[in-house]
């Protein structure tokens, strides 16, 4: 099947408006006869469910958590971008579009990104109207901060809990529709497969996580807003339950999986402390507005810090290497995430890591505390030379901005970041790859849509900070509600989809067989045993830096691990009860397939772009020596993989990317 992005014709700034003017609509009376399933209730799924219900469709929404409010969007910290230009610093729709395409290392689809930038400003209006308490200035207007990879301040925020506030906004919009009976909410339900009828997505099979009951749900269209697959690495900043199962099942039913190797390793996370570690905690990128990243210049100081004879705050300025400021003077500590992560790895690989494992760098707030302290003292007419007072005042400002993050850090690491620099290291955070979708956000399966992090479309090979929240809400509030109507206009005479058909029988049987296998298999190792092994392979060989040898090994190791899993996995208990191990077994089974495709995709892409860094694709000389080297001639395409049984049999389809409104350039932040 040839990939058709269905991008509308015309100038980029007019595409979305023209498109909306010419699509088919469903009249309000007919909407009442149409059912839509939404899986996942994060920013994308939650906003989509609320909006579709408000338009008049009958929505069934599903989440595996005990409440839609707990989806992992809740944990997003720093902010949400929007081209409002409230600061008057030169922002515009075009500039947000440009920054996003450039930040994504020219591997995203122009038309989708432009639309995202175009609707971004409206998201802020919407959220304020819903009662989202964004941070404000003393004059009562909204405040902004700056994020990596851009030269303007366009990020709206609510302390370090922006994701929480936006999700609670979407949740409140859902609550209004649940109260009206327009959304039927299924908490603690996990989607285990997609049902297609005559080639169209017409339903899903779910498992009630409390009773184990296997259920059939039908609809005229199915929307997946099920998030990313970072947990294929076992350790990531994702929630424990975040998984690829819904997306992977869609893939197995015909949805192409795009760019699985594009994974974002976030530069500022709390370092791993030991083998017991179950997840990693992010320290928001917003901290890079005020924190300076460094390691010691000299090896003797590294040793002294490690063995405790030297306190990091006592190391003289001239003996510190602020390596981001040194290497990238234009963007400094606010380079994009992929660049910052690789630079940290480079220093740690060279032996300058500052903790026991050698995998940590400092993020230091001392100069910000000084700067803010002096500013406040000046405003209040206090003594600007009183060091104790300055520090106190500065700490108060920093606490106001990042208090919850500092508290999180202190609880985990048991050190006070107001008085000693934080230690951070990169960790898996976000997946730019995902289910391939066209301009309508429809997958290669008719009637099956994919929104938010679960799809591939807007961030190319690297996502800029504060753009995930923007995309989730743009897709759910403002894009999908239009595009899905165009498709559903053909279904006004279809009537309710029956679940009492052979198609539903067959898929349910497959689901049951797999569950029966797990609960009856007399294996010897827990699910986590396999998940941790998979994570190690992924991190060591398919992580921040990739090469042909490692990727080839990873492919065969993952395959062998998968075979072992299906022989030796042990799942206690039965299906007909709350059984977390059973739920985990199904998710890890899918990660074990995805992991191999991921490595295969990374092997195929013989270039470095964004989060995908190949050691055999670097600049060899000139100003950019050592930086990632993209190959636009041969790789300016989206890799969309078609499922054909084993991951090794997957077939590659290419969507060639065309850049008409932005010149393809080497990304320079120097």
């Amino acid at each position: 099947m040839a990939l058709d992005s269905k991008t509308p014709e015309g100038p980029i700034a007019d595409k979305w408006t023209n498109y909306k003017n010419h699509i088919d609509l469903v009249n309000p009376a007919n909407k009442r006869n149409i059912d839509v399933i939404v899986v996942g209730t994060g920013l994308a799924g939650g906003s989509a469910a609320a909006t579709l219900a408000e338009l008049g469709y009958n929505v069934k929404a599903f989440c595996f958590q005990d409440s839609p409010r707990r989806a992992h969007s809740i944990a997003a910290q720093g902010g949400i971008n929007a081209a409002k230009n409230y600061q008057g610093d030169g922002d515009s729709t075009y500039r947000l579009f440009y920054d996003t395409v450039k930040g994504g290392d020219y591997r995203s689809r122009e038309a989708n990104v432009y639309r995202l930038a175009e609707v971004s400003a409206n998201i802020i209006d919407q959220c304020v109207a819903q009662g989202v308490p964004f941070a404000r200035e003393y004059g009562g207007l909204l405040d902004n901060r700056s994020f990596g990879g851009v030269l303007v301040s366009r990020t709206f925020y609510a302390a370090g809990q922006t994701g929480q506030q936006l999700l609670l906004g979407a949740y409140s919009a859902m609550n209004r529709q649940i109260g009206r009976g327009k959304i039927k909410m299924y908490n603690r339900h996990e989607m285990l497969d997609i049902v297609k009828v005559d080639g169209k997505a017409r339903g899903i099979i779910t498992r009630n996580l409390i009773t184990g009951e296997i259920e059939r749900h039908s609809a005229h269209a199915v929307v997946l807003g099920t998030g990313g697959y970072g947990n294929v690495f076992f350790l990531s900043t994702n929630a424990m339950g975040s998984n690829v199962t819904a997306a992977w099942k869609a893939h197995k039913r015909g949805a192409y999986f795009a760019n699985p190797c594009y994974t974002q390793i976030h530069p500022t996370c709390i370092p791993v402390s030991g083998d017991h570690q179950s997840k990693l905690t992010l320290m928001s990128e917003s901290l890079r507005n005020d924190g300076r990243i460094w390691v010691p210049k000299h090896m003797k100081d590294v040793e002294a810090i490690k063995n405790g004879t030297l306190k990091p705050k006592d190391l003289k300025e001239e003996d510190r290497d602020y390596y981001l400021e040194r290497r990238y003077p234009a963007f400094g500590n606010l380079v994009p995430r992929d660049v910052a992560s690789r630079a940290a790895k480079e220093r740690c690989d060279a032996g300058y890591g500052v903790n026991a494992t050698g995998e940590a760098v400092f993020l230091d707030f001392a100069s910000a505390i000084q700067r803010y302290g002096k500013e406040t003292a000046h405003v209040k007419g206090l003594d600007e030379n009183d060091a104790v007072l300055i520090k106190k005042l500065g700490q108060e400002v920093v606490k106001n901005k990042y208090g919850n993050l500092f508290q999180m850090y202190e609880k985990i690491v048991d050190q006070d970041p107001y008085n000693t620099p934080m230690m951070i290291y990169p960790a898996v955070h976000y997946t730019m790859g995902g289910i391939w979708v066209d301009y309508n956000l429809m997958t290669t399966v008719p009637g099956l849509y994919c929104i938010g992090e679960a799809n591939f479309s807007d961030h190319g090979a690297n996502r800029l900070g504060a753009s995930a929240l923007m995309q989730g809400l743009a897709d759910g509030y403002f894009v999908l509600p239009y595009t899905i109507g165009d498709y559903l206009s053909d279904d006004i005479r279809t009537g309710q989809i029956s679940t009492d058909t052979k198609e539903f029988d067959d898929v349910e049987k497959e689901v049951r067989e797999k569950i029966d296998f797990f609960v009856n298999n007399d294996g010897s190792h827990s699910v986590d045993y396999f998940h941790k092994k998979l994570g190690k392979i992924m991190w060591n060989k398919v992580g921040m830096s990739r090469n042909i040898k490692g990727l080839t090994e990873a492919i065969s190791e993952i395959k062998a691990l998968r075979e072992q899993f299906w022989k030796e996995v042990k799942v206690p208990g039965a299906n007909e009860e709350y059984n977390e191990e059973l739920a985990k077994a199904g998710r890890v089974a899918d990660f074990l397939e995805l992991g191999e495709l991921f490595a295969k995709d990374a092997l195929n892409r013989e270039e470095s772009c964004g989060g995908h860094f190949r050691e055999d694709a670097v600049e060899l000389d000139g100003e950019q020596k050592g930086e990632a080297k993209r190959d636009d001639e041969n790789f300016a395409y989206v890799s969309a993989w078609e499922y054909k049984g084993e991951p090794s049999d997957a077939i590659l389809h290419k969507e060639q990317l065309e850049f008409k409104d932005i010149e393809l350039k080497q990304r320079s932040y120097k």
Partner: protein
């Protein structure tokens, strides 16, 4: 560290349930409390026993899913944290730790340490929203300036994670802190004024219907709240409720 755990085991909602003793060894003080339970569960699975069921997800203190009652305190002995942020350095080698579910009539046990908190969702369905369509056709976000202090206080109320520690800590199993926080968030913002009367009446009615108890101002909820939600929110809700009742 070596520890003795006394954990509430209950097969399902109909089972009576009881405390069962377990031992864990070589626990690192840097582990989180839930990672310590992961170690126990791995042991149980390898022995062929059923692992202890507990709710958890984000493991960074924001999703509100985790919910343990540890040594008689919601989210355990530390302050300003959820159970997933509680670290084993808060305990000593040789300690005995009691681990129970959040207990309240409106939070029935599902299994072991997992309780059903959908009563919180139903209170929100009754009025935890502003009735504005999501079409984006609204006024510019900066059209109404909001006093910074009001915005900040609304935000502080809105940081409630809906975990239910307030209910579990209250001798009356009252949900007033939770409901007060939501009512306050909207009461402090101009956007929330239009429906203020109906909102507070409907949410309080639903809260009562769910079987939550009343507030007798002991303040235990505020002490145990992982997000430091202030008792002032209860006062503000009472004020809103009185205003609404007088309007009729």
């Amino acid at each position: 560290m070596n520890l003795t755990l006394k954990i509430w085991r209950q097969k399902n909602a109909n089972d009576k349930g009881q405390l069962v003793d377990y031992k864990v060894t070589d626990i690192s003080p840097d582990m989180s409390f839930l990672e310590m339970l992961d170690v126990l569960n791995e042991q149980l699975i390898n022995k062929g026993d059923e692992p202890v069921a507990f709710d958890h997800d984000c493991r960074e203190g924001i999703c509100g899913m985790c919910s343990l009652y540890i040594n008689g305190e919601a989210h355990g002995p530390d302050r300003g944290v959820t159970t997933c942020q509680l670290h084993m350095r808060m305990f000593k080698d040789g300690d005995t730790i009691y681990i129970e579910p959040f207990r309240a009539a409106a939070f029935p046990v599902i299994k072991d340490l997992i309780v059903d908190r959908t009563s919180f969702d139903r209170i929100q369905h009754a009025g935890g929203f502003i009735s504005v369509n999501t079409s984006g056709n609204t006024i510019d976000a900066n059209a109404i300036p909001i006093n910074k202090q009001d915005a900040d206080t609304a935000f502080e109320a809105a940081t409630c994670i809906g975990c239910g520690a307030c209910v579990a800590s209250c001798k009356n199993s009252s949900a007033m802190l939770f409901v007060g926080a939501k009512v306050s968030q909207f009461a402090l913002l101009p956007q929330g004024q239009v429906e203020a009367t109906d909102r507070v009446l409907n949410m309080v009615k639903q809260m009562d219907d769910e079987g939550f108890g009343n507030c007798t101002n002991t303040g235990a909820c505020e002490v145990e709240c992982p997000k430091g939600i202030s008792l002032e929110n209860i006062a503000r809700m009472n004020q809103e409720y009185l205003k609404a009742s007088l309007k009729g």
